[in-house]
């Protein structure tokens, strides 16, 4: 009787663990396959000419330079607005705010900002920046829209990095006569910097890959020149990939895979940089 019982539960354990392993296998193998497939298919399309030339023949030939430059501008624009604001907000939450209802409200607002669908950000950007403030469909409007979307990621990451700095560092600085702001600027911020940079890059990575928020705020279907002011619309890599894979008939498949690969390199390059900074800072940290 006892023997039978124990046999059963070891049998169940075997089956259960095999099943879980199988499930994990079925999750991870497609992920590897997806990356390998895009790299394999996209690599032959990438050449200096593909990266540095304007699109020709209704985007069916030539390069994707305006889309690359556009995504670079949008990411930069997003950083200009969201990084100072996000870090300041994180400093407030970590160094100044007391635990009261207002602070709780700020935290709820941050969680909700993080959860709002990206296309709703697009609507908001259209309503506020494009129409109400009359920026038009422009790099400015798109960058501002992406900034607000990126803000919760930056605030959360920066706050976590600031809170990780030991309390003793602050106490010592204050006891030596430093003011609150001197303590933050000279002691806490430098210590938290690697963590903050990592969070900033991860936030901007998301902004760089997004399409829905820029659909009606700044993305141009086809613009065979580089944008020359903040009020110009621009091509962008994710939107360009969407356009050439759904809107343009007879699009050479190679250009599509090439564009997808360039986008992935752009985005995952940022991701790997962030991971690198984080692991290096962890290795060097002395507290």
């Amino acid at each position: 009787m006892i023997r039978r019982f124990s046999l059963d539960r070891f049998l169940i354990q075997r089956l259960g663990i095999s099943l879980i392993t199988l499930v994990a296998f079925l999750t991870i193998v497609p992920i590897i396959a997806v990356f390998a497939y895009i790299i394999g298919k996209g690599a032959p399309a990438i050449s200096w000419q593909f990266l540095s030339a304007m699109p020709r023949d209704g985007m069916r030939a030539g390069g994707i330079l305006p889309a690359i430059v556009g995504t670079f501008y949008l990411t930069l624009g997003t950083a200009l607005f969201s990084v100072p604001l996000g870090i300041a907000a994180a400093i407030y939450l970590s160094e100044y705010a007391r635990e009261n209802w207002l602070t709780r409200l700020i935290r709820i607002a941050i969680i909700n900002l993080a959860g709002i669908p990206s296309v709703v950000y697009g609507l908001f950007g259209l309503g506020l920046f494009v129409l109400f403030l009359k920026f038009g469909t422009s790099i400015l409007a798109a960058s501002l829209t992406l900034s607000i979307m990126t803000l919760p990621v930056i605030i959360s990451a920066a706050e976590e990095a600031l809170r990780a700095v030991p309390q003793a560092f602050r106490t010592v600085s204050i006891s030596l006569g430093g003011t609150r702001w001197q303590t933050i600027r000279r002691i806490v911020l430098p210590q938290a910097l690697p963590g903050i940079i990592t969070g900033v890059i991860l936030g901007l990575e998301r902004a760089a890959g997004e399409t829905a928020p820029i659909l009606f705020t700044g993305a141009a279907f086809f613009l065979p020149r580089l944008p020359n002011s903040l009020f110009d619309a621009t091509m962008a890599l994710p939107y360009h990939l969407f356009v050439i894979s759904t809107q343009v008939p007879g699009m050479p498949i190679q250009i599509q895979y090439g564009t997808a690969l360039v986008l992935i390199i752009f985005v995952l390059g940022m991701n790997l940089t962030a991971t690198f900074i984080r692991s290096r800072a962890r290795a060097k940290r002395q507290w």
Partner: protein
């Protein structure tokens, strides 16, 4: 103390404080603009008409129910994929895989989370849809099923990452205690570790759902975009259209200030309120054990 120093200090404090409140201001601004552009819908379209089953804006039929059911069927389908695969993978990484394997595989899964959804949509069109069409012998592969599978793939990294953290933070003593009492490894996982990590795992699922409902590009590219009521089981094998895809696909073509324009903002308002509810549930008392930073960063 030096007077100019204290002036600077006051100024900085004021600036930092203002920035601190910015998140509240932005949520309110978003809500305000959605209301401003979306609410006129209720004056322009009859209530019964708005919640009817026909979405055909060219002839002024603005029934949003097909879009709502489209979103629901795709989201439910995605969760059926994401729950077993997401939690299964999290359990594997945290409880079964050796440490070196976890150190490689977890970042890999998170890398998928960083992939722009438009890239997944692109692969969906080129690989997944033709495969489904041939495999299931359908007239088109661009169906709710394709959307659900793809969205499941998008929700999996979020779910794995947070659920694995939750499992990992269960004290080692719990497992050792169970094993010492003669439980098998499987019984330990199933009856001790998973229940102990329950709130984190539920948070992971809620946030997975949140990402799924709001996902736009991948869904727009692979679901075929037909605004039909998706209420039968077989609807999963036919094209549908979600709320997000409708906004993204049609906003570019409408005249500012028209009824059509207001209805699209109204759909955005509905999405905003759904995400508000999902996030407030996810952050409520039941799920409190997880820090906000982990949730936002996932």
């Amino acid at each position: 103390m030096n007077r100019s120093l204290s002036w600077g200090e006051t100024l900085i404090t004021a600036v930092v404080k203002t920035c601190g409140y910015s998140a509240i201001v932005f949520v309110l601004l978003i809500f305000f603009f959605l209301l401003r552009e979306g609410l006129p819908t209720l004056a322009e379209v009859k209530f019964g008409e708005l919640f009817s089953t026909r979405w055909y804006p060219i002839e002024d039929h603005f029934g949003i129910l097909p879009l709502v059911t489209g979103s629901i069927i795709v989201t439910v389908g995605a969760m059926l994929v994401a729950i077993p695969f997401g939690i299964g993978t999290a359990v594997f990484l945290s409880e079964i895989a050796p440490r070196w394997m976890r150190e490689i595989l977890k970042p890999l899964v998170e890398l998928l989370g960083g992939l722009p959804s438009v890239v997944l949509g692109f692969l969906g069109i080129l690989l997944l849809a033709p495969f489904l069409r041939n495999f299931l012998n359908l007239p088109t592969g661009l169906t709710a099923l394709a959307g659900a599978l793809l969205l499941g793939g998008i929700a999996v990294p979020t779910t794995v990452s947070i659920a694995e953290d939750a499992l990992d933070s269960v004290p080692q003593g719990y497992r050792e205690g169970a094993l010492a009492l003669g439980a098998t490894k499987w019984q330990t996982i199933w009856r001790v570790t998973l229940p102990a990590a329950r709130s984190g795992v539920l948070t992971a699922l809620m946030l997975g759902i949140g990402r799924t409902i709001g996902e736009t590009m991948a869904v727009m590219m692979v679901t075929g975009n037909a605004p039909v009521m998706a209420v039968k089981f077989s609807s999963i094998f036919s094209p549908v259209r979600t709320m997000t895809a409708t906004i993204a696909a049609e906003m570019g073509e409408v005249a500012n200030g028209s009824t059509y324009y207001h209805v699209l903002f109204f759909i955005g308002l509905v999405l905003f309120l759904i995400s508000l509810v999902v996030n407030i549930i996810a952050s409520s008392v039941v799920f409190k054990s997880k820090s906000r930073a982990e949730r936002v960063l996932s």
